[in-house]
C-alpha cells in the first residue's frame, strides 16, 4: 500500500532544516502500524510530507502509494488515490460549515468508489443523499446536529475538533489512514469513542484475509492503542530516522516503562537488541 524509500525531507519554515533523513517505511494492505517518537523527532513532518504540503521538500528518495510514485503529486490527488488524515492541529476555517466539509468528504469518497470500481455503495446504508449521510455520521457519533451548522473548528473544544476529524475520516473512508496524535487533548469519554471508530475503520476485528485498509498511527502518548485491538508493527522515530521496528506490544511496553531515553542509548550504540533488553547493555 505505502512504501517510503530513503526519504530525506527539509522544512522551509525551519530554514531548510533536515527533519527526515534516509527514512524507510513499508505498510502493506490490511496492516496498521504505530509510529512512536518524542517531540521533535519528525512525526508531523512525515504526515505533511505524505500529504505533499509545499513547505516540506523531498530532497531525496521516493514515496510510493498503491504502486504509484506520488512524491511530487499535489495533496488533493493523493487524497483521491485514497489517503486520509486525522490532524492533530486542524486549522479554523471561517466561512465553511462543518456540514459542507463533511459533504465534500462524502462526495470525494463517492468519486473514488466510482473511479476505482469498488463494489461499495456510494452512500452509507439507508442514506438518500450526502446531507443524509452527514447527519447519520454525526448522529452515530452523538454529535448534536446544530454542530454541523458551525464553521469548521471555530470555537471548537479539543474533543470537538477530534470528533469532527474522525467524522470526516468516516465520510472519506480512505484506504490508507493517517492518525496524527489521535489521543492528545482528549478526555476519556472521547478517547474511548475515537478508539472504537478507529478500530472499526482500520478493520481490526476482521479476519486477516478481509483486512484491506491500512493505517499509520502517530502517537507519543500511546493512550489510544489499548482501544485498537491487534496492531501489526511499531516503529520508533528518533532524529528523523526509524531506529527500531518490531512487535508493537513489546515496543510500546518498553517505551512506557523506560521512555524514549532508552531508545536513544540503543541508537547511540547502534545496536539492535530485541527491544526491552536495552537495560542489559548499560
Amino acid at each position: 500500500m505505502l512504501n517510503i524509500q530513503n526519504l530525506t525531507v527539509t522544512v522551509n519554515h525551519g530554514n531548510g532544516r533536515t527533519v527526515l533523513r534516509d527514512f524507510n517505511l513499508s505498510i502493506d494492505s490490511g496492516e496498521t502500524h504505530v509510529l512512536l517518537g518524542p517531540n521533535g523527532s519528525g512525526k508531523s513532518t512525515l504526515i505533511y510530507t505524505l500529504l505533499g504540503y509545499p513547505s516540506y521538500k523531498v530532497v531525496q528518495g521516493s514515496i510510493f502509494f498503491k504502486g504509484k510514485d506520488i512524491t511530487g503529486m499535489p495533496t488533493n490527488e493523493r487524497v483521491s488515490l485514497g489517503i486520509g488524515t486525522l490532524f492533530q492541529h486542524a486549522p479554523k476555517v471561517p466561512g465553511v460549515k462543518l456540514k459542507n466539509l463533511m459533504n465534500v468528504c462524502g462526495e470525494k469518497r463517492g468519486e473514488r468508489i466510482t473511479k476505482e470500481k469498488f463494489e461499495e455503495p456510494l452512500l452509507e446504508e439507508g442514506c438518500r443523499d450526502l446531507d443524509d449521510q452527514t447527519m447519520k455520521i454525526a448522529t452515530d457519533l452523538k454529535f448534536p446536529l446544530e454542530f454541523l451548522e458551525r464553521e469548521v473548528n471555530v470555537g471548537f473544544s479539543g474533543g470537538e475538533i477530534k470528533r469532527s476529524e474522525i467524522m470526516q475520516m468516516i465520510a472519506l473512508k480512505p484506504d490508507f489512514m493517517l492518525f496524527d496524535e489521535p489521543d492528545s487533548g482528549v478526555d476519556i469519554e472521547n478517547l474511548v469513542l475515537i478508539g472504537k471508530v478507529m478500530r472499526d475503520l482500520l478493520q481490526r476485528d476482521e479476519i486477516p484475509s478481509r483486512q484491506i485498509k491500512s493505517g499509520l498511527i502517530i502517537t507519543h502518548l500511546g493512550y489510544i492503542l489499548q482501544y485498537l485491538g491487534k496492531l501489526d508493527r511499531a516503529h520508533i522515530l528518533l532524529n528523523g530516522r526509524i531506529i527500531c521496528s518490531g512487535n508493537p506490544e513489546i515496543i510500546i511496553n518498553s517505551v512506557k516503562k523506560f521512555g524514549f531515553d532508552e531508545c536513544k542509548i540503543c541508537a547511540a550504540n547502534q545496536i539492535s537488541l530485541e527491544c526491552g533488553d536495552v537495560e542489559g547493555i548499560k
Binding site: 499535489p74 495533496t75 488533493n76 490532524f87 476555517v93 471561517p94 460549515k97 465534500v104
Partner: protein, 411 residues
C-alpha cells in the same frame, strides 16, 4: 399653505445644489443626460425578451411572479410595469401616489433631508423623476414579497428615483429590489432616494441587489423612521463592478423596543470604489441595532465598510461587525466603525477582522480532496453566505440563491 411648503423645499434644494457629499468621490451631475424617448409599458411581465429577462433575474426579479405579490419596473426614468396582486398592499408610481393621496407628501423628504447633498437636491429639482410608492396596509401579513427593478439602458443617463415605503401598524412587508444597467451601458448615474416609514409593530425586510457596470456612479440616499416595536431588516448585496458607489443609510429608531438589522455583502472587483455603511440612531428605550458587513476584495478594488451606532436611550444595544477577505495584493478594505454611548445605560460593541485566506486553510481543505481552486471557492462561497435568520423562512432560502446568482452572474 401647500404651495409655500413645496416652494420652501425647492428653495432648500436650490441652496444645496452645489453641496458636495460628506463622503465619497464628487460627481459632476451635469455630465449625464436625462433625455429619454417615449416608450410603451409592458403588458405582461412574462412577455419580456430573453435579454431583459436575464438582466432581471440577475437582480432577483422573477418574471413569472410566482411567489410575488407585486412588481415595479422602471427603465431610465420611465415606469414600464407596476402591478400588484394583493389588496393588502398598494404599489404605485410615486407621481401617481402624490396625485392620488394628499397625505403622501407628508412622507416626502421626511426620513431623508432634501439638502443632505447635491444628489438629494437633484432629486427635488429634476423635472424627470420617478420611483415607487409602496404601502402595506394595517395588519397586512403573510403576503408574498414585492419586487422592483430600477434599470438603466441609455449610455450616459442619470436615473433619479424617489421611493416611499410605508408599513402600517402590525403589517409585514418584504421587498426585493434590484438596481442594474443594460450590459451595453457603461457610463451611468443612479441617484436613489428611499424613505421608509415603519409604524407601530410593523416589520420591513428589504433585500437590495446591485449589479452595475465599470463606469457607473451610484449614490443612494436612504432614511428609515421607526415607531414603537417595529423592525427593519436590510440585506444589501453588490457583487458586480462599479466605478464608484457610496451609500450610508440612516435608521432613526424613535420608538421603544425597535430593532434594525443591516447586513452588507460586498464583492469588490476590478477598479471598483465601494463605500458602504449604515447608521442607526437608538432614540427609543430598549432599541437595538446590529450591523454586519462581509467584504471580499479582489483585483484593485477599494472597499470601505462603515458603521455608526448612537446609543441615546435607556438599554439601547448596538453591535457592529466587519469581516474582510483580501484576495489580491492590490485590493484594499477599510473598516470604519463608530459607536457612541450618549446615554449612560447602553451597550455598544464592535469587532472587525480583515485578512487573506491562510495557506493552512487551503491545504486542510485539499487534504479532504479538493483542488486549490475548489478549496478557495468553498471558503469564498461560505464567506458570502448571508445570515438569513432575520428573514421569513420562505425568503431566507431564496435570498441565499439570489446571492449565488449575483456572485456568478456575468452579463
Amino acid at each position: 399653505m401647500k404651495k409655500i411648503s413645496q416652494d420652501t423645499k425647492k428653495q432648500t434644494a436650490l441652496n444645496a445644489r452645489e453641496k458636495k457629499a460628506s463622503i465619497g468621490e464628487d460627481i459632476d451631475i451635469s455630465q449625464f443626460t436625462s433625455q429619454q424617448e417615449n416608450g410603451s409599458e409592458l403588458q405582461k411581465l412574462e412577455d419580456v425578451g430573453e435579454d431583459f429577462k436575464k438582466i432581471l433575474i440577475n437582480v432577483g426579479v422573477d418574471t413569472q411572479q410566482k411567489e410575488r405579490s407585486g412588481t415595479y419596473i422602471q427603465e431610465g426614468n420611465r415606469v414600464v410595469f407596476c402591478q400588484t396582486k394583493s389588496d393588502k398592499v398598494e404599489v404605485l408610481p410615486i407621481a401617481v401616489a402624490l396625485e392620488k393621496y394628499s397625505w403622501v407628501k407628508n412622507y416626502y423628504w421626511n426620513a431623508v433631508k432634501v439638502d443632505t447633498d447635491k444628489y438629494t437636491a437633484e432629486a427635488e429639482l429634476t423635472d424627470n423623476l420617478q420611483g415607487y410608492f409602496i404601502h402595506a396596509k394595517k395588519g397586512a401579513k403573510g403576503i408574498y414579497p414585492l419586487q422592483s427593478c430600477l434599470y438603466l439602458n441609455i449610455e450616459g443617463f442619470k436615473q433619479v428615483v424617489h421611493n416611499i415605503i410605508i408599513a402600517d401598524e402590525d403589517s409585514e412587508l418584504n421587498l426585493i429590489t434590484g438596481c442594474t444597467v443594460h450590459p451595453n451601458v457603461h457610463k451611468a448615474l443612479h441617484l436613489g432616494i428611499s424613505e421608509f416609514y415603519l409604524k407601530k409593530n410593523s416589520k420591513i425586510t428589504f433585500t437590495m441587489i446591485h449589479y452595475w457596470s465599470d463606469q457607473s456612479d451610484v449614490r443612494p440616499r436612504t432614511g428609515i423612521v421607526q415607531e414603537e416595536g417595529s423592525e427593519y431588516v436590510s440585506n444589501y448585496i453588490i457583487m458586480s463592478e462599479v466605478k464608484s458607489l457610496q451609500s450610508n443609510p440612516i435608521a432613526y429608531l424613535e420608538g421603544d423596543n425597535t430593532k434594525a438589522y443591516f447586513q452588507a455583502l460586498v464583492y469588490g472587483k476590478k477598479d471598483s470604489h465601494i463605500d458602504v455603511g449604515s447608521r442607526a440612531m437608538l432614540n427609543g428605550k430598549n432599541s437595538k441595532a446590529e450591523m454586519i458587513s462581509r467584504v471580499i476584495g479582489t483585483d484593485a478594488s477599494k472597499v470601505i465598510a462603515r458603521g455608526l451606532i448612537v446609543g441615546n436611550a435607556e438599554n439601547a444595544v448596538g453591535h457592529l461587525e466587519c469581516q474582510g477577505l483580501l484576495l489580491s495584493p492590490n485590493a484594499r478594505i477599510d473598516s470604519i466603525p463608530e459607536i457612541n454611548a450618549i446615554h449612560p445605560n447602553v451597550s455598544m460593541t464592535h469587532e472587525a477582522a480583515i485578512g487573506r485566506i491562510a495557506e493552512e486553510q487551503i491545504l486542510y481543505l485539499m487534504s479532504r480532496g479538493l483542488n486549490e481552486t475548489e478549496a478557495r471557492d468553498l471558503i469564498i462561497g461560505g464567506f458570502l453566505e448571508a445570515d438569513t435568520s432575520h428573514l421569513p423562512k420562505e425568503l431566507a432560502e431564496e435570498t441565499q440563491k439570489l446571492i449565488e446568482i449575483a456572485s456568478k452572474a456575468e452579463v
